[in-house]
């Protein structure tokens, strides 16, 4: 028979590491935000995010999307490392030993806890080599200047880098819908660069489903 005592780890039942109430801690006297491990958290004021968009646009023009994407890639690489360290420490197991469902659920909780919105994965096109990530309530979309193109280049870079580290292969990330353009959520397609990059030009004249049909006609629902 299963022994309940054996199910406990040092009398502990690991739960949701990224539960907001326990993950984010503030020190009023010092004016610092920390996570539950005592690592510093950075709160980005809306004005700063808006200023980054405006400043980059002024300084680099059209290249600003590439700057943000590459910043996101760097951020995503560090984020993946920290994320894995935190999970491994908390669950007392290596990330490789975790089930993919637990890992991805922790990612969703982490994303939400940091105020980056609600993230969900759509694995409909996984067999064709594409993963769709949907994000609702993104502050980076909400604070971006409205335009005719998706603007979450920073998040696209983070996702590309995070899932590249997870898959062990270089992946590209393409945003197809954006809340800043009135869409219900931000949709991102992840896949191998040589398969996904040609779809970059489709974003201006095709919707999300049509782009996926072009990318993988055989498996479109």
């Amino acid at each position: 028979m299963i022994s309940v005592a054996d199910l406990l780890t040092h009398n502990r039942v690991p739960g949701n590491y990224f539960a907001f109430e326990t993950y984010v801690r503030g020190d009023l006297e010092l004016g610092l935000l920390e996570n539950r491990q005592g690592e510093r958290l950075l709160a980005l004021p809306a004005t700063l995010i808006q200023a980054i968009y405006a400043g980059l646009e002024k300084e680099t023009g059209q290249a600003s999307r590439l700057v943000l994407f590459n910043c996101g890639k760097w951020w995503g690489k560090c984020f993946y490392t920290r994320f894995c360290e935190q999970l491994a420490g908390y669950y007392n197991t290596s990330v490789a030993a975790m089930s993919m469902a637990d890992f991805l659920q922790a990612l969703q909780q982490c994303w939400r806890c940091h105020g980056w919105g609600r993230l969900e994965l759509d694995q409909t096109y996984q067999a064709s080599g594409f993963l769709v990530v949907n994000i609702w309530n993104s502050p980076y979309a909400r604070l971006a200047p409205a335009g005719h193109h998706p603007v979450c280049h920073l998040e696209a870079g983070v996702l590309a880098s995070f899932f590249s580290s997870l898959a062990g292969r270089e992946l590209y990330c393409l945003q197809t819908t954006c809340e800043s353009m009135g869409a219900d959520c931000n949709r991102f397609i992840l896949g191998l660069p040589h398969r996904l990059e040609p779809a970059e030009t489709m974003v201006t004249n095709l919707n999300h489903d049509a782009i996926l049909q072009q990318l993988c006609p055989a498996s479109a629902p």
């Binding site: 028979m1 299963i2 022994s3 309940v4 005592a5 199910l7 406990l8 039942v13 739960g15 949701n16 539960a19 907001f20 109430e21 469902a101 637990d102 659920q105 969703q108 909780q109 939400r112 806890c113 105020g115 609600r118």
Partner: protein, 159 residues
Amino acid sequence: MSPHLATLFDEAEHRYLKPEELKQMSQYVGSLPERIVIYRTLRNRELEVMQAVTHQLQLALPQAGQVELERSLRQALLMLRHCAMAMLLNDETIIQEYVSWVGPTARIFNTLSLDILLCRLLNQQLAQLFSSQQLAYLTPLLQLAQQAFSAAPLPPANH
């Protein structure tokens, strides 16, 4: 402490508490000795209760896999600990956070029927352990937590 009561302390510089707010505070403080008794019982007898549940669960589902059983039992332990803390502090938000996290997992691993049976057995064990008066503190929170294993859509997350 419930977020509603906690916000009362922020009012100190603005006003004195209204009679109904004082009554709420008084009710919570008056219920604290009983809440502490329930919490202490749960803390001290957690393993005994859960071991009895485990025994009954394995008898009821002899074909269930060890991995699935262990996963569901861990979630039930977690649920009981969250309910105990929520009961002690009279704070439902602890449970809402738990539900938003556990619900999707139960669906992904397709352990809903196992979890529902486990919850029923756990409720039976707790009914033997506590008086009806004590259960009145615990049952609403257990029911809220066990929404995670219902077939209905989960309530939206707060953040």
